[in-house]
């Protein structure tokens, strides 16, 4: 579905994007996220509690075939994807929180994902063995954190270079999102035509439900609206490629193809639905910014 060349290209583009994301931040932003560690905890809980439960519930409600159930639960249990950081940036969210959540959830994933998968697939009556490749998890972290750190240093050394890199990174973000949409839809339209509505509901629904529940879960735990939006995106946007990898390592033959179906469809639609959600979040963030500017000091 994606050629190795595209994978490499996307990897490089991703690093350029993260370089830009890093250049938009300072150490203070991370300090700020650490000062309120609750945000990260709330985010992680949302990620590993809300999301898998939603995935399971959705799979059961739609009465999907066993392979698809596995696929949906798997995607729901994945840690946050790196694209969530781009969307957090564009939605004027708390980028440092998003990056820290992605980092933390990816690390925690090594332990949490097998447990969750075993638990929920057992609950669904499906027995399967899953392998979480630690090497790939490390790779995700490197792609995420190294460019971010370099970007932050660039900005510190020269704000002009930092701002330029940030601009290039964000433009690249738009390019990557467009690239994903534009290249996937035409190549897979036959598959899209053959797919039944319950699969659409499952793949689009899991992302949107994750964002919706993530937001209100965070709000309920007294996170401000900006953090909640960040947590929302982080909860809804999963690391699709990692799910694909886990499947190729854990299954073979026909079963592999069937299980892969949901994560692949998810990866496509999450880009589209996140784009719309981000545009909406961004408008809200701008409005709040202006309102805060005009607000009175609390006496």
């Amino acid at each position: 579905m994606i050629t190795p060349l595209e994978t490499t290209l996307l990897g490089i583009m991703m690093m350029v994007i993260m370089l830009g994301m890093g250049a938009s931040m300072t150490w203070r932003d991370f300090m700020l996220a650490f000062r309120k560690p609750r945000g990260i905890v709330v985010g992680l809980t949302s990620q590993f509690l809300v999301m898998p439960a939603l995935g399971f519930a959705l799979a059961m409600a739609l009465g999907l075939p066993p392979a698809m159930v596995v696929g949906l639960i798997l995607i729901a249990c994945m840690p946050g994807g790196t694209t969530s950081n781009i969307f957090a940036y564009f939605s004027k969210g708390v980028l440092a929180l998003s990056i820290m959540m992605t980092t933390a959830s990816t690390m925690v994933a090594v332990v949490m994902v097998p447990i969750l998968l075993t638990f929920y697939s057992g609950l669904a009556g499906i027995g399967a063995e899953f392998v979480i490749p630690a090497g790939n998890v490390a790779q995700v972290l490197v792609v995420l954190l190294v460019p971010t750190a370099i970007g932050m240093v660039l900005r510190k050394v020269n704000p002009n270079i930092g701002a330029t890199v940030e601009l290039i990174g964000s433009l690249m973000g738009v390019v990557v999102i467009l690239f994903l949409i534009v290249t996937w839809v035409p190549r897979n339209y036959q598959m899209l035509l053959d797919t039944g509505p319950e699969f659409y509901t499952a793949t689009i629904g899991i992302g949107l439900a994750g964002m919706l529940f993530g937001y209100w879960f965070a709000r309920g735990l007294q996170q401000d609206s900006n953090r909640s939006r960040t947590i929302s995106l982080e909860t809804g946007i999963q690391n699709g490629p990692l799910a694909v990898l886990v499947i190729t390592l854990s299954f073979t033959g026909e079963m592999q193809q069937d299980v892969l179906f949901i994560p692949v469809l998810y990866s496509l639609f999450i880009v589209i639905s996140s784009t719309f959600v981000t545009m909406w979040y961004r408008r809200n963030a701008t409005r709040e910014e202006l309102a805060r500017d005009a607000a009175k000091v609390a006496t």
């Binding site: 203070r28 704000p159 910014e289 805060r292 500017d293 000091v297």
Partner: protein
């Protein structure tokens, strides 16, 4: 009338060890000489850094400012053929071009006319005609206003400057591209009957003459006119306060006397207030330039988020602001979680600083805000709180060195100690009068005293408090708004029969404009709405003058001879806000 009203100087004890009681002897004959001297002494130091919201920036050293302003002076005197004393208007946001142009004007022996870039066409027209401006330097994003204005004035040459002007090439290109393609804020340059030059070309032309700018400024004396600073007029039009080189130099020394102990060459001052406003012009630009400090210029401080990169990337030690700015900053998490750690001082002027804002600021930054008081007619600083723990909340501080103040009643007689009276100011910073308005001058400037129109009280130890205002003006975020001007604008709207304008307390801007409007019964068409009134005002008035609150009434209180009684409306407002926010009715 006279010196007898000065009953000693009770505030001297509050000067403490760090403030000299007597103003030092003037060090320079003109602002040009002051500027040149600073540029020579601090040649290699960074003088200005302009930061746009995404963090892109450009800087100029003192040496660069010197040679570029020399070139601009040559451009004015040779290419534009200006004579000494000719007026040059500058209509720029805080950008690197501002200090070059201002200093260039002083070095050319010409007179600077600071102009708000947000002024509407009619406001520009009035100011440029009144001051007989010959050269206008305007920011390119507002060049579209020129077509309607320039042909009706005596302007002979227009110079355009961009916001990212003099940034390194790549950031300049990026910012300009964003302005052009994304925000669409760069209008095409209209066809004008006069030559239009970009500032880089103007500097290049000036440089070609290889002229020594000294020839134009070495003859300047302190009594010569340096600037016409426009301020709202009681008669509905803005009038130019004539500020001499001596008045400006004196006020620089007065500002430095109050703050010197807290300033050194490592000082880095955040200039979010617009330089065309006299407070930022004197305090931020000139005073800090004189001591070789670094000035971080913010072209567009709203929303206040736009300041984030500047605060994070530079070691800010001083912040000047108005209530609005301090309020907005203390509402931002990025600011409150990591306030500037090098901060030494914060000073507020322009409008009353609210106690709640001052307290919150002190909590967040650990540095108190020292509040001061001034007016355009006094270049502008009259009084300031001493820095540190001698600062008194709610007070506008003590008169700056070399300044006499008096409080008088309506009969011009000194009031008893502790009683309120109109604040009168006499000092070397006073203006010479209003430009070509002898009657206005006579009513404001009498026997060397500026009648401020503000009613104040004085504590035993000389600290002043503003308690009321005699003139009807409304002060919105430090900008004077004269009700007559707004009422004139409202009267031009057909559906309006008559209108009266007063100020209402506003937590954010200190005061806001409220219009009481009576609909015109003869007008046919849509009934009069608040929205329509505001929309109409926007076409004629700068944003801060547009009424924030509109009350539609059947009639207005009037005197027996039919004069609208603003004082009755003011009393209504006082009643209305008394219950709600007793503290803010400043």
């Amino acid at each position: 009338m006279t010196s007898s009203r000065t009953t000693g100087r009770p505030w001297l004890s509050a000067y403490g060890d760090d403030i000299e009681a007597e103003l030092p002897a003037p060090r320079h004959a003109s602002l040009a000489e002051m500027g040149h001297s600073a540029c020579t002494r601090f040649a290699d130091r960074t003088a200005f850094t302009c930061v746009v919201p995404n963090g892109m920036n450009g800087s100029l050293t003192y040496g660069q400012v010197d040679s570029m302003s020399d070139a601009f002076a040559a451009f004015l005197r040779i290419d534009c053929d200006l004579d000494p004393g000719d007026r040059v208007a500058v209509q720029l946001p805080n950008t690197l071009s501002y200090p070059i142009v201002a200093l260039g004007v002083f070095k050319a022996g010409c007179v600077l006319v600071n102009t708000n870039p947000l002024y509407t066409r009619s406001e520009m027209l009035h100011q440029f005609t009144d001051a007989e401006v010959k050269v206008l330097v305007i920011v390119d994003i507002f060049a579209d206003k020129l077509a309607d204005v320039v042909p009706q004035t005596g302007i002979e040459r227009v110079v355009l400057a961009g916001v990212p002007e003099f940034f390194p090439r790549v950031p300049e290109f990026i910012v300009r591209t964003v302005q052009k393609v994304w925000t669409r804020s760069l209008p095409p340059i209209p066809q004008l009957p006069v030559p239009v030059t970009r500032i880089r070309a103007a500097l290049a032309a000036g440089r070609k003459h290889k002229a020594d700018a000294k020839q134009w400024w070495q003859g300047l004396e302190r009594r010569n006119l340096a600037m016409l600073q426009y301020t709202g007029g009681t008669t509905g039009v803005a009038k130019g306060a004539m500020l001499s080189h001596g008045a400006m130099l004196a006020n620089i020394d007065q500002v430095l006397a109050m703050g010197r102990a807290y300033m050194d060459r490592e000082t880095c001052v955040l200039t979010a207030l617009p330089l065309y406003h006299i407070f930022a012009f004197t305090a931020n630009f000139l005073s800090f330039f004189d001591i070789g400090a670094r000035n971080v210029l913010i072209p567009s401080p709203r929303p206040v988020q736009n300041l984030q990169r500047a605060v994070e990337n530079y070691p800010i030690t001083w912040i000047t602001g108005v209530n609005t700015l301090f309020n907005a900053l203390t509402n931002e998490e990025w600011f409150t979680a990591h306030p500037p750690k090098h901060l030494v001082a914060a000073i507020a002027g322009g409008t009353a600083l609210h106690a709640a804002v001052a307290r919150r600021w002190h909590e967040v930054t650990g540095t108190p805000v020292a509040e001061g008081y001034g007016l355009t007619e006094c270049a502008p600083v009259v009084s300031f709180n001493p820095m540190g723990d001698r600062s008194r909340p709610g007070s506008i501080g003590i008169p700056v060195p070399g300044t006499e103040v008096a409080l008088v009643d309506d009969d011009d007689a000194p009031v008893e100690d502790g009683k309120p009276g109109e604040l009168l100011v006499r000092g070397p910073q006073n203006m010479d009068g209003y430009w070509r308005r002898p009657e206005d001058t006579d009513s404001t400037l009498r026997n060397g005293w500026v009648y401020t129109g503000d009613v104040a009280t004085m504590d035993d130890d000389g600290y002043l408090h503003i308690v009321d205002r005699k003139k009807d003006l409304v002060i919105v975020s430090g900008f004077n708004v004269y009700p007559n001007e707004i009422e004139d604008a409202l009267a031009k709207f057909d559906p309006v029969l008559e209108a009266a304008v007063v100020g209402i307390p506003d937590e954010k801007t200190g005061e806001a404009v409220r219009a009481y409007v009576v609909p015109n019964p003869d007008h046919v068409g849509e009934p009069l709405t608040r929205e329509a009134i505001v929309k109409h005002c926007r076409t004629l008035l700068a944003p801060y003058k547009v009424p924030r609150s509109v009350v539609i009434r059947d009639e207005l209180p009037k005197s027996p001879i039919g004069k609208i009684l603003r004082k009755d409306l003011k009393a209504e407002v006082r009643e209305e806000f008394k219950a709600a926010t007793p503290a803010s009715a400043a």
